[in-house]
Amino acid sequence: MANKFISFKYDPTEEGYSSSMWRTLYGDAYVSNNSLVLEKSEIIHYGDILRGDVSFTVTIEKPKIDDNIRIGLIQYSLGAYMYFKIDQGGLSIETSDGIDSNSISLDWQDEWSGVPVEFRIKWETGLITFYIGGQWKAYVSDSTIPTKPLSLYAFNDSVSEFAINYIIAKSIQSYVVSTGNDNSEFEAIITESDKLNITEDITSVASIPNKSLTDDTSIIENVSVEIQP
């Protein structure tokens, strides 16, 4: 075990949103009202973290049925993660080592809605503990605990606004930041929510003078265009 620990913070007011520190997989992430706002967006930090105590202070509305939000740590292609997830109107914590996965449902508390609340993940060897608003909520101590480095991760594919006020990562056993990402060559990633959907309902009612009511013209068009990669 390391006897030297690393800590850092991310403050949108101080740092803004930088493509040299964050990879935007899709959508828009921008700083507004001193917070990092994710508008149908998915972002991954370039720091590689092995074990640590990470707190995301975020503002989320009360979960709705169409909401899809994740905050925590991930190694994307390996499929390893530990995060809080809001989906189908419910809140849960999820863990995976890339092979096995675990999920524990939690109850949403109304006092968390629409105000900054701390979502904390404490990642130790063989144990992950989840806290919300300073309260212990769940723990995982099984084979789904990742043993490889992960990165800060946030995802919002909801109509509800999702904003990160700040992130504090401390007691990190190993921290390496990949460099040179500004000039990386990427392929275009097109996800489900990136697909272009145009749906128009057009109703036109024209009344023509000196004609009877039966001459009224009604035109109804349903136009649906879906472009897929």
Partner: protein, 180 residues
């Protein structure tokens, strides 16, 4: 022995391919379908590592004559290495501290289940010892003076154009010394 370890990973989805992290000595790898693709290309990572455990998630078609693909750890000009080598239809694990003048080499029989699948090829590099695993199964271990003792870098290579070497991710953990 170090009591502070470094760990990092390379994920093509997150990092893409950039010339500040990798040196392309042959061709230029590309990102496609979330993989780093090498076809007549050779890339060396700039980080200098001393002892570690490195996992390459690799997708290769069934080996055939004409294929020359390699991945592992290398010091390029010194030609010191710990690597998996696929030449024609033969897979070998190899180490050398001096460009093959003194070399460990052992053949590993290709398993049809590995073809065209994302398979983890792992090298565990310790002091005087290199152990090779595929799909979490032990394959071979060298424990002698022919295991490098100087810093090496992650590398991936596909010299042939017959088919692609596809890298899904690379995990490097337990590094005793790391410098970039």
């Amino acid at each position: 022995m170090s009591n502070e370890y470094y760990n990092f990973y390379y994920d093509p989805v997150r990092q893409g391919y950039d010339s500040d992290t990798w040196s392309s000595t042959l061709g230029v790898p590309v990102i496609s379908n979330n993989y780093l693709i090498l076809n007549q290309a050779y890339a060396v990572h700039f980080a200098d590592l001393l002892r570690c455990e490195v996992v390459f998630s690799v997708n290769i078609e069934t080996p055939v004559n004409g294929m020359i693909k390699e991945f592992g750890l290398v010091s390029y000009n010194k030609n010191s290495y710990i690597k998996f080598n696929l030449t024609d239809d033969q897979l070998t694990v190899q180490t050398s501290p001096d460009g093959g003048n003194t070399e460990n080499l052992e053949t590993v029989v290709w398993n049809a289940d590995w073809s065209s699948s994302d398979i983890e090829f792992k090298i565990k590099w310790e002091a005087g010892k290199a152990t090779f695993y595929i799909n979490n199964e032990y394959k071979w271990s060298f424990s002698n003076a022919f295991v490098p003792n100087d810093p090496l870098s992650v590398f991936v290579s596909s010299e042939d154009a017959i088919n692609d070497l596809k890298i899904k991710y690379i995990d490097v953990t337990g590094i005793q010394s790391y410098n970039i």
